[in-house]
Every structure is written in structure tokens, then in C-alpha cells.
Point group: C2
Chain length 335, copies 2
């Protein structure tokens, strides 16, 4: 089955590039709200499920044991740009577990945010693992290990108690088996398990509503959603789509990007979960798709609608500020 | 017509993302060597035709009048990474025409090469228009204007004598009309004209062989090809695909990337011109496609084949150096 064209990139009067994709929107009872394209094909959710991977940290009471703040909980769900505040909060999380940067097993890279990378270079420094876009998630994993009395070393391995708990949490909330034969290794070295989009969307519908979750699970999901809504900068960074969308919509939309064109979301007031993938893995397509779904489903004021439209269907300007083209979402998706 | 899948991106045992595209390989008589997908759809060649846009600078004798070196001629065809040597050579070209950076109308951006951007920031400096990836092409345009006795101001406009000559050169070598209704504005503010891939490929077959060109045109094409083969660093930069491929293959392959997944090339010893586009505009797909075509058509030693294969079908490692997946080209393309 060929996925349809969902996003067009124009230049002048012509379509320059086109993106295909698939979309699943599901309610908390598992009812299909919207299905576009081949949604049965398994996809690696990558970083789009970081909020679900953070559930055990809250459900076990360890976040409270260490007194994690809302900023820190938001950073545990982040693919951040490596700005100074992101690195600072990651270090604070590790300190609460009595650990430091040397425990991080995510690897080191220059800040994902280009301005942050240049700022770090201009200060004469080089990056540490705290600047890795996943450092908050990993700091959360280390808190989980230490809080449970486990040795955090090797916490990225599938067999470590941390990853076993994370996998169980993902299986429980999505209802999908996370099997070794459908697994891969993520950029930050932890396992990632390919599952169909409707299972992902179902997991996010439950994350957004608490339906079908235990009391601890429901409270954990709510705490994470509220923490991120209060600190949308922490989950992404300056100028990033997730940060900007949640700055506009607050608790009404929880959205999280993953690598390779995956996006997940929940719109709690509607009880919907969303999962989508751009076939080609292009982030600009996935962002446009997610923005379009927010516009399609969520009631918004005129000002909100204008702001979200500018995110979903941006205009391209060149280095001289001349308008040269833009991104348009197909009516199939926009509804 | 749906373009076929030509490139797959894998993670673990699964295909994570897929790219479709179209390809045209044509000989210098216009004979079709290979045609994949919808090649009649017009595409903006963007920076892939910079070498053809540089022809008037050579054909008019102005490159010789100003004593442009091979490095400078190569930079006139570049989408460079903004490394110090690129900026230095662009400034030298302008000086030969009695001008300086203030004449550049390409706009200013931080170096496209991330390491170069950090290096510039670490030195406490900010970028100038010399760091714009198109600065060499624009310096060439300014040399052309000054050499012809025209005022260079406004040289980026479609109506300026420079752009009129560039458009005529493109029309002559490709045989395709460059019409205003199929035009757009490129990232560096000059016009770009959408034409079909076979016309682009035909232009590059003639660029590679000189067939059908005037004496001046043939000499200009040969001079550009040899200049780039001697200085492949100048047309791209450290670690870039074009630079690495031409370091391996020398004069046997002239390749040039364009934005939005376009690539053009000529394999002079075969008399072939190549033009391709990844539907979604992803550079990784276009690079894999171009690498595959080089492997398919060009005779190579075992060492060369191994090196080009590593460019065409790279293995992905994560931040910890763990192999997590890679890029594979489809048999349709690899032949």
C-alpha cells in the first residue's frame, strides 16, 4: 500500500519536494478516529515515547524520593537542544541521585541547537554528555536505578532492570508486544522497539486521559503532562516546534518528536492519542503533519490558530529575507 | 506516475525510512542511457548547475583577464562549507575585480559546515557573506560583471546582464527553455528555472564532453572540470560527499549537489550526463543515488569501489560508536 502525499514543499509556483506519510489517531478506548496510509507497518518510535519511558520514574515514587522538580521531570522527557539550562538541569538530576556526568551512557555530541553549539565553542569549551539531547532521559534512568537500589552501570542495556521496567511500561500502556526481533538500538544506545502506529496512538490516548491505567500510572502521566506544559522549553529548546506548540496550547496538547519523522501526541481534552510517521524521515514533514492535526482537532482561538498555522505551514525566506516558498499540508490531512 | 523506492534506511533488521526518486542518464547525443521514474516533471536544479552557471566567466575570457586560479574557478562552482580557505579564496576573487565583500548579494549565514561554524565562533568572530556557501559563485558573477564593464550592483536580479548571460548559457547547453513561469528564487537570491531531468543530464553530458559546444564553450567546460578535479575541497569541504567522491575518482567524475535532493554529474570518459532528484528533497538519499550510479557505470579498481561503496551505502553509528543501521540502494538503481 502506497502512503499518500501529505506535505508539499513549494518554490515559486511549483511543488519542489513532496512527503508521504501515515497517521493514526485513536481514542482511549482504542477506537479509530483517523487512519491515513499503511498504519500496520511497524515503526521505531525513537524519542517520541520518552514521556512513556519516564513513567516508571514517577510510578515508583522515586521522582518524589529525590524531590525532582517539574523542570527536571520535563527534561526527563526531552530531546533538548543542549542549551546551558538543559545541561544545568541534567546535572542537578544526577546530583540528586548522588551521581554525576560520568555515569551517563548516552555518549557525547555538540549541542543539537546550532546557536547553543556556537555559544559553547565561543566560551572555549567542548561538550560533555550533559549536552547530549537525551541527557535528561538518561539522568532519569540513573535516578530510577539508584532509587531502586540497582547499580546504574550498564543501564542502557536491554537486560538491565531499568530497561526491563521501561519496556514493561511501554508494553502495558500501548498494549503492543515489544519483541527482540523487532528491536533496534537508538541514537543514545538504549533499545527501541518497532510497533504499529495505532498502538502508539492508543498509548498516548491513555497517557493523556489515564483511562485503563493504575492509580499510580494515572498520577504519573498527569504529573508528566503538567510538568511539560509548565516547562515546554525543557523538552526541546529555543525555536523548536515542540516548545513553540506547547507554549501556545499549554496542557491541551502534549507533543513529542522522534527521529526519522515520527511524532506522537495526546490531546487530553478530546481523549485522543496521535502517532504519525513521514515515510522519508524528514522532520519538516512530521512537524507539518502534527501541526495540521492540532489545527484539525483542537478548538482554538483565532490567535492560537494563526500561531499554530505558522508552525504547520511555514513560509521559507532565503538568506536575504526574500520569500521563496513554503510548506503546505494536503487536504487529506487538514480535514 | 509514482516514482519507485530507490533508497532504504535500516535500523536493526527493519527498514525505518524510504526514499523515492527519479533518475536520468543521457549521452552527449541526447540518447537515453537510463531513465527511472517520472523524469518529465520539472525540477529546480538549484546549486547542482553552478558549474554551468560559471561557463560565461570562462567563455568570455574574463577568468583569464583577472588571472583566476584553478582554486578560484573551482570555488565559483561551489556550495562550500564556509571553512577559512573557502572564505579566503572568495575574498581573493573579489579583490582581482577590484571589489570586496560589500559587493556580495548572497546574504550572510553561519558556515554550513558545523565544525567551521564552531571554529569561527570560538575565534570570537561572526560570519560575513564570504562564509555563505554560494560566495564563490557570487564572486564569479561580480568578476563577470566587472569584466564586461557592467555595474555589478543588482547582479542577482533576473534582468541584470549577468543573470541574462547565465540564463542563456543554461538554455544553450541544456537545450531547455528557461521560462519565467517556471522560475523560483534560490537560497542566494538568484533565479532558478525548473527544467526536466533529461535536459539537465543532456547539459552535463555536453559539459563533460564538449560535444555540440563552441570552441570557447568546450574550452571553458574542460577548464572548469580540471580545476575542480584538482581542488575538490573547494567545491564542498571537509567530509562532504562531493569532495570525497572527486578525491577518489579525479577527472573521471564531476558531481555537484543541489538543494532539495537534486544531483547532477558527468562521467566524461563514458560521455554521460546524470541528473537525479529524491522526491522528498533529502540529501542523504540523493547522495546514495549518485554514489550508486558512479558504481554502476564507472570502471573502478577494487579500492576505489570499496571507497565509493562506503559513500553510497554508509553504515550508521550512534554517539557511542555502536553500529545501529545504514543506507541501502535498491537493485533498480544499482543495476
Amino acid at each position: 500500500m502506497d502512503n499518500p502525499f501529505l506535505v508539499e514543499v513549494t518554490r515559486g509556483q511549483l511543488v519542489e519536494s513532496r512527503h508521504r506519510g501515515s497517521v493514526s489517531v485513536v481514542d482511549a478506548d482504542g477506537g479509530i478516529v483517523l487512519s491515513i496510509g499503511d498504519v500496520d507497518r511497524r515503526v521505531f518510535p525513537r524519542s517520541a515515547v520518552k514521556a512513556l519511558q519516564a513513567l516508571p520514574l514517577l510510578e515508583t515514587g522515586i521522582a518524589d524520593k529525590y524531590g525532582l522538580t517539574d523542570e527536571e521531570i520535563a527534561l526527563a522527557c526531552a530531546s533538548h537542544s543542549g542549551e546551558p539550562d538543559h545541561a544545568r538541569v541534567a546535572a542537578a538530576m544526577l546530583a540528586k541521585a548522588g551521581r554525576d556526568v560520568s555515569c551517563l551512557e548516552c555518549g557525547t555530541h555538540w549541542p543539537m541547537g546550532e546557536a547553543a553549539a556556537r555559544q559553547l565553542a565561543a566560551s572555549g569549551k567542548t561538550p560533555s554528555a550533559l549536552h547530549n539531547n537525551c541527557s535528561g532521559k538518561h539522568a532519569g534512568f540513573i535516578c530510577l536505578a539508584c532509587g531502586l537500589g540497582d547499580d546504574p552501570r550498564g543501564y542502557v542495556s536491554a537486560g538491565h532492570p531499568v530497561q526491563r521496567r521501561v519496556r514493561e511500561a511501554l508494553e502495558e500502556i500501548t498494549g503492543a508486544c515489544h519483541t527482540d526481533d523487532k528491536s533496534g538500538i537508538d541514537g543514545c544506545s538504549i533499545p527501541t522497539y518497532a510497533i504499529p502506529l495505532p498502538s502508539l496512538a492508543f498509548g498516548f490516548a491513555r497517557f493523556g486521559t489515564g483511562h485503563g491505567l493504575s492509580g499510580e500510572g494515572k498520577a504519573a502521566a498527569e504529573r508528566i503532562r503538567k510538568a511539560v506544559a509548565r516547562h515546554p522549553f525543557m523538552v526541546a529548546g529555543t525555536g523548536r516546534f515542540d516548545t513553540k506548540l506547547m507554549e501556545i496550547l499549554g496542557e491541551r496538547a502534549f507533543v513529542k518528536v522522534g527521529a526519522e519523522g515520527v511524532y506522537c501526541a495526546t490531546f487530553p481534552e478530546l481523549g485522543y492519542g496521535v502517532a504519525l510517521k513521514a515515510d522519508d524521515g524528514h522532520a519538516r514533514a512530521a512537524e507539518a503533519m502534527m501541526g495540521a492535526l492540532a489545527l484539525r482537532f483542537l478548538p482554538m482561538s483565532d490567535n492560537e490558530r494563526e500561531a499554530v498555522s505558522a508552525l504547520a505551514q511555514p513560509v521559507f525566506k532565503n538568506w536575504n529575507g526574500i520569500e521563496v516558498g513554503g510548506i503546505q499540508v494536503s487536504p487529506t490531512l487538514m480535514g
